[in-house]
Symmetry: C2
Subunit: 260 residues, 2 copies
Amino acid sequence: MNGKNGHVVFLGAGNVATHLSLALFEKGYHIKQIYSRREETAKELARKVNASFTHRTEEIVPNADLYIFSLKDSVLPEIIRRMPVTRGIWIHTAGSIPMDVFSDSVRKYGVFYPLQTFSKNRKISFSGIPICLEASDEETLRLLTHLAESISGNIHFINSEKRRYLHLAAVFSCNFVNYMYDIGSEILRKEEIPFDILLPLIDETASKVRTLSPFEAQTGPAVRYDRNVMDKHLHLLENEKQKEIYRLLSEEIHVRHSNS
Amino acid sequence: MNGKNGHVVFLGAGNVATHLSLALFEKGYHIKQIYSRREETAKELARKVNASFTHRTEEIVPNADLYIFSLKDSVLPEIIRRMPVTRGIWIHTAGSIPMDVFSDSVRKYGVFYPLQTFSKNRKISFSGIPICLEASDEETLRLLTHLAESISGNIHFINSEKRRYLHLAAVFSCNFVNYMYDIGSEILRKEEIPFDILLPLIDETASKVRTLSPFEAQTGPAVRYDRNVMDKHLHLLENEKQKEIYRLLSEEIHVRHSNS
């Protein structure tokens, strides 16, 4: 990989692959090929980044400088097994997969984990996204740092062990958070109240933890242990699973704040 | 209540009372008195808004124009019972208490519910905060609208029945969300990773639901049903309750997205 003259192959065409390949393409990197198990998906992304595409591992070009694996975790090992011999560096973008998944296959490898939530229909700037790097050797790490710095000003060196915990924390702070929004939105939809009314609250909840710890920022009936309100809320919820979530989270918030 | 010349009494000196009285004080309203069961708390807020204070209900001044009850839900009925006869309007700021909690006590009453999370140590501007109003009569509603418009450009007329659901949706979208941040923060603390690394993710998760519905915005191992990742995560969690939360939310996300 020789700066922006290097050729990049993407394995995968999902949310991360889409946003990362677009960010690199926009910075002048040459995306040579997109591989995806589904030809249509590969083709769609390839068109956007001016690359060729394939859905056959045997057609993956062997002469690129960098191979970026952005696949579902359960699929990655199989694709690695089916890869042709290449001379390039192999990296993946997954939170929970150790770097050494590549150690039996290539000499130079690493991890390039962007700590962000990506949806295909949502544009995003990479500039502030934390990019967590790890590499098999100093030279590869320098190269990945250079690559990361070309799209973001927020680079971190994090090993495989710590990255697993980071991914786990991200599931709570993003995926589960979004699901809480989803339940909120369902409750309002039934009452024909527009979801927009929650946006200032959602924003402030996210902003608060810039100046207060989440522990200090906690508010609501559970932290006050206002049984009155909690019983009313449980009564309003019709969905048994939502009741279960409400009960479990309220109890845990209460326990967390009465021990302090 | 005659515009900003009216005199306001606050019953309660907690997070909502503190922020709301400060906002009104800064807009030129005259805060006459702060009542709180704890004298120290009443005194502390009274100093900030240039008001007198008391911790005895029998000392509450009877000649104010507006009485704003910002108390824990379970305490409100008792304080209402112990109130002196007054000529002013009575309103509360609670999400889950019907307006008619006042109907046996005074002729003019209402609700002024700011849909926001307030912490004493965090400054906040009221200007974008949704304020949900309800009143016993047209004249009181006009007066409350005027009051609300003096601090916010985001006024809603919402009845007691719908407000309960709004409060419930807010618990999911704010209080439970913050608790998810708290768990994320705890996971990182044990690994000595600074919480700040999650902030771009937290921001984007909140911003996404401005352009996508929470359903469309959902990402993560549970929506992909990546058992591989989920099993690893459950293995990393030491806290049994956190495991239970992880399992319950992941299952529900999966069910929600496989039915679609």
